[in-house]
C-alpha cells in the first residue's frame, strides 16, 4: 500500500521543470532536437558573426546572422541579395551584396553604380561615396559583389567578381 501511495505522489516542481513528467520522453525530445539542430546549423542555416565594417550601416560589426544555404536551390542569385562568399572553404566567408549579374558591364562614377552604362539606384547605400571604376565586363558564371559601406577607401574595401560556386548562400536576416 505504502509503495503505491508514493508512486501516486506528484513529483517535485523542480524535477518537472528539469526533466519533465516523463524523463524518457524528455530524453528522446532532447536527442531529436540535438540531431535536428546539428543538421540545420551545419548544413542549412550557417550561423555567422560579422566582423569589420564593410557592410555598415545595414549589417553592423559584431552582429550575428545566418547564411541560408538553400536560398538558391530553385533560382539563381539576384541583384541586391546579400550573400556569403567562401574563401577556400565554408568556415570563413565574406559578406557582400550582389550588384552585377553575369554578362553585365559594371562601373562606378562619382560613387554611383553603373550597370551597362546606366546609373543603378541603390537604396541600401546610406553613406557618401566617391568611387571611380572603369567599366568591367562580368563573365557568364560570375557576379560582382561589393559592400554597402561605400565611405571606405577604395583600396581598403574588398570587392570584385565572385564565381557562382563561391556563393554559399543568402543572408537570412
Amino acid at each position: 500500500m505504502g509503495t503505491s501511495r508514493e508512486q501516486l505522489k506528484p513529483s517535485s516542481w523542480w524535477r518537472i521543470v528539469l526533466i519533465g513528467r516523463r524523463p524518457d520522453f524528455t530524453l528522446l525530445r532532447i536527442l531529436i532536437l540535438t540531431i535536428f539542430s546539428l543538421i540545420i546549423f551545419n548544413f542549412v542555416l550557417l550561423p555567422i558573426r560579422i566582423q569589420r565594417v564593410s557592410m555598415e550601416p545595414n549589417y553592423k560589426d559584431r552582429g550575428i546572422n545566418f547564411v541560408n544555404r538553400l536560398a538558391y536551390l530553385f533560382h539563381e542569385p539576384r541583384r541586391g541579395d546579400v550573400v556569403a562568399i567562401r574563401f577556400s572553404g565554408p568556415h570563413a566567408m565574406l559578406l557582400k551584396r550582389i550588384v552585377g549579374l553575369p554578362g553585365e558591364t559594371i562601373g562606378f562614377h562619382a560613387g554611383q553604380l553603373l550597370i551597362n552604362g546606366r546609373v543603378m539606384p541603390e537604396p541600401y547605400v546610406k553613406l557618401p561615396c566617391d568611387w571611380e571604376m572603369d567599366a568591367l565586363k562580368i563573365a557568364a558564371d560570375e557576379y560582382y559583389v561589393v559592400g554597402d559601406n561605400r565611405s571606405m577607401a577604395w583600396a581598403d574595401h574588398k570587392q570584385g567578381r565572385a564565381s557562382r560556386d563561391q556563393i554559399l548562400g543568402k543572408i537570412l536576416l
Partner: protein, 165 residues
C-alpha cells in the same frame, strides 16, 4: 569456439595496431602536408613575451619548413610583401616578431591537390590570423606549393589568392 573467438579478437587488435603503426610511421602525403602546415602555423604564431633566444630559434626553425629557393608573394588588402630564400624569410620573421606584440595564426579549410607523381602538391587554404590586442581577425586565402625533398614536404611557394577578382 571460445578459443577461436579470442584468436579472432586478438588478430583484429593486431591488425588495427599494424594499420595505426603504418599510418603513423608512413603517413599519406595529405597527412604529412597537413602536419607540416600545422607546424608552420605554430611557428608563425608567437606570444608577446617570447624570449629573444626562443625568437631566434623559432625563426630559424621556421625557415627549415621551406625550400632554399622559396618565394613568398603576399598581397593582402593594403599590404604587399615579396620574399625570396631563407635569409629574407628569416629577417622578415624576426622583424615581425620584434615589431608586433604577439600574433596567432590558424589554417582552416585546407584543400590539397597532389601532383601526378606525388612528389609535389598545391594546397589552398584560409589563413586566420589575430594580432595581440586587436579585436578583428585577418583572413586571407593562400596557395602553398610544396615539394618532397629527401622524404620531407617543404614549402617552395606561397602566394595570396584573390577571393574576389
Amino acid at each position: 569456439m571460445m578459443r577461436w573467438f579470442s584468436r579472432a579478437v586478438l588478430a583484429g587488435v593486431l591488425a588495427a595496431l599494424g594499420i595505426w603503426c603504418w599510418h603513423t610511421w608512413f603517413p599519406s602525403p595529405e597527412k604529412a602536408i597537413r602536419k607540416r602546415l600545422k607546424e608552420l602555423a605554430q611557428l608563425a604564431s608567437f606570444a608577446s613575451n617570447e624570449a629573444p633566444v626562443a625568437r631566434l630559434f623559432n625563426c630559424e626553425k621556421l625557415t627549415t619548413l621551406f625550400t632554399s629557393d622559396v618565394k613568398i608573394e603576399l598581397d593582402a588588402t593594403g599590404w604587399q610583401q615579396t620574399l625570396s630564400g631563407h635569409d629574407q624569410l628569416f629577417q622578415a620573421a624576426m622583424v615581425v616578431r620584434q615589431r608586433f606584440g604577439g600574433f596567432s595564426v590558424d589554417f582552416i579549410d585546407i584543400d590539397i591537390t597532389l601532383g601526378p607523381e606525388r612528389q609535389s602538391a598545391i594546397t589552398d587554404l584560409t589563413a586566420k590570423g589575430k594580432m595581440a590586442g586587436e579585436k578583428d581577425l585577418l583572413v586571407e586565402e593562400l596557395r602553398f606549393s610544396l615539394k618532397k625533398v629527401k622524404g620531407m614536404w617543404l614549402i617552395n611557394r606561397v602566394e595570396t589568392v584573390k577571393t574576389l577578382r
